[in-house]
């Protein structure tokens, strides 16, 4: 006697599939609908970022960092310039730092909005996704106002910014935040507490603390597993030590700590925390200050290497830059957060149903541009 065992089936999810968030291919072994093994195949979006960087000057690397995590370009720029400034020992003025923080946090909101919306879309709720995109558009408007580009900014430069913020930017940002805060509540109400979504995500794809740490998972995914780890608090860079904000962690409110719902909900709380930071940064921003003040005439860092890490919306972003004294970097290595998040997929995704695997994948919030680089 026995239940019907479907024959083992190998499914290729992707590289063209609505739920893979890009050109990712998951080779999935299923028994009936139960997934027994997931093998991610990457490289469909490989652009030789690291090799490319060894052939262009230091300032020319910045547009390439934009394209790695195309959903949080500002944060990618930020990480690179932090690394470069450490290497060249440049101290930028407060105005620049404030603007950078505002930009990075706005970017975090935009990225998390997209992630939460797409998570809903993965689970079949279409409407919240469009609402999220609608609000993300407002943030992109602010970026366009600032630097003229909506997606790939090349805004932060080593030692400064490409432009100062325009007149009226602070006001319109405040206006946006006032508009935006109730929208987060709406998003949470329609999505986070919906019984169906809770059923679909709570207790699903649980990533225990130790698994998360041993796989090197960072960012909201790690925090959802209950680890209070945020580089903005734990290893403050820029001026994050000046602001008050909380680091939300997963509490297993609807299920187990570290399940899909926690990962999803941590991002919603982080949106609120980012709003807090932006309000503080805008309020304390110095009115005067030249954003080009410490811009070096020629970028030719001393011989040596640096590793700097920052907190992007997806986790710890690390840049390792080695300089041989020439204007062209000897080596640029990027430690990308979504890559580690994807690598944990087989560990936490095997044994669930096919639908759950896609929910888990959605909750990990990966961006293929950064994984493949």
């Amino acid at each position: 006697m026995g239940v019907v065992h479907g024959e083992e089936m190998v499914l290729n999810i992707g590289p063209q599939h609505p739920a893979t968030h890009g050109v990712l291919r998951l080779q999935v072994r299923t028994d009936g609908e139960v997934v027994s093994q997931i093998t991610p195949y990457m490289g469909y979006l490989h652009r030789c970022f690291e090799k490319h960087s060894e052939n262009v000057t230091y300032e020319q690397v910045i547009p390439f960092t934009d394209r790695c995590d195309y959903l949080s370009s500002m944060s990618m720029n930020f990480g690179y310039v932090v690394a470069m400034e450490r290497l060249m020992e440049i101290k930028v003025n407060d105005r620049v730092e404030h603007i950078r923080v505002v930009m990075a946090e706005l970017q975090r909101i935009a990225s998390h909005l997209l992630c939460t919306g797409v998570f809903g879309l993965d689970l079949g709720a279409f409407t919240p996704f469009l609402w999220a995109l609608r609000d993300r558009e407002r943030i992109l408007d602010l970026f366009e106002l600032t630097c003229g580009a909506r997606l790939l900014y090349n805004y932060m430069w080593v030692g400064g910014l490409s432009h100062d913020i325009p007149v009226g930017f602070v006001e319109s940002t405040f206006e946006f935040l006032d508009y935006f805060e109730p929208k987060v509540d709406e998003l949470e109400n329609i999505l986070a507490h919906n019984k169906i979504l809770v059923e679909r995500s709570a207790d699903i794809g649980v990533m225990p603390k130790d698994v998360a740490i041993s796989y090197g998972v960072t960012g909201p995914n790690l925090r959802a597993s209950g680890v209070k780890w945020d580089l903005r608090k734990n290893d403050p860079y820029s001026i994050y030590d000046r602001f008050e904000f909380d680091v939300p962690i997963g509490e297993g409110q609807k299920g187990t700590v570290g399940d899909c719902w926690d990962r999803f909900y941590v991002r919603i709380i982080e949106i609120r925390e980012s709003v807090k930071i932006i309000r503080q940064a805008l309020a304390s921003m110095p009115k005067e200050g030249d954003v080009h003040q410490s811009l070096p005439k020629k970028i030719r860092p001393p011989k040596g290497s640096v590793y700097a890490r920052t907190e992007t919306p997806r986790g710890d972003l690390g840049y390792y830059i080695e300089s041989d004294g020439s204007p062209i970097p000897y080596r640029v290595k990027m430690r990308s957060p979504a890559f580690t998040a994807l690598s944990v997929l087989d560990e936490i995704g095997a044994g669930w149903l096919l639908s759950d695997v896609l929910a888990i994948l959605g909750s990990l919030d990966i961006v293929l541009g950064e994984i493949d680089r």
């Binding site: 262009v56 300032e59 020319q60 690397v61 910045i62 547009p63 390439f64 934009d66 394209r67 409407t127 609608r134 558009e137 408007d141 366009e144 106002l145 630097c147 003229g148 580009a149 790939l152 090349n154 490409s162 432009h163 100062d164 913020i165 325009p166 007149v167 009226g168 709406e186 109400n189 329609i190 507490h193 919906n194 019984k195 169906i196 809770v198």
Partner: protein, 194 residues
Amino acid sequence: MIKYFSDIFTAVSTIAGGMFITLTHLVKAKKGIATLQYPEERWPRPERNIGFNSESYNVIRSRLHVDMDDCIGCLKCERACPVDCIKIETAKAPERGEDIKDVKHVGITTNGTRKAMVVTRFDIDMTECCYCNLCTYPCPEECIFMTGGPNGKKHPIDYEFSEPDRSDLIYRFAKPGTKEGMENILNEKSKVEA
């Protein structure tokens, strides 16, 4: 058993709550609509003011444009480009700062710099351009810029530059005939010298 019914209750109440939210959106459809009717309505370009003396300073990243009359052929933009989409060839002008009528070369820029080189080829491959804006900063004459740039009044913003033919996206800014004209001039000159 209690969990069974409380689950049913939460399901009903949360779904009803969600439906109420969507209903409010449906009812207030007129207010919240975020769509633009594209061909009729255009995306409003944000008017950017950075406090300079120029009243409106647009940094919109659209297609690149070169004011050939001002270009001195210094090759700074070509070097700044991370993707090498700018190709410039120059020829030494017979005389610095002189207009050469045959090839429509203007000898002095609007900034008053006297040009030593005649640009015989200035090609930008817009299919390769990554819109990073890096080429515009080093230009000493501010002659290469994204449209809608500082000289926005001269150049209307446009982002609808799709072309049916891919080769049409290689913008050739050097004036037609410059190359041949310069070759002729240089040949004649060498003949004369010879």
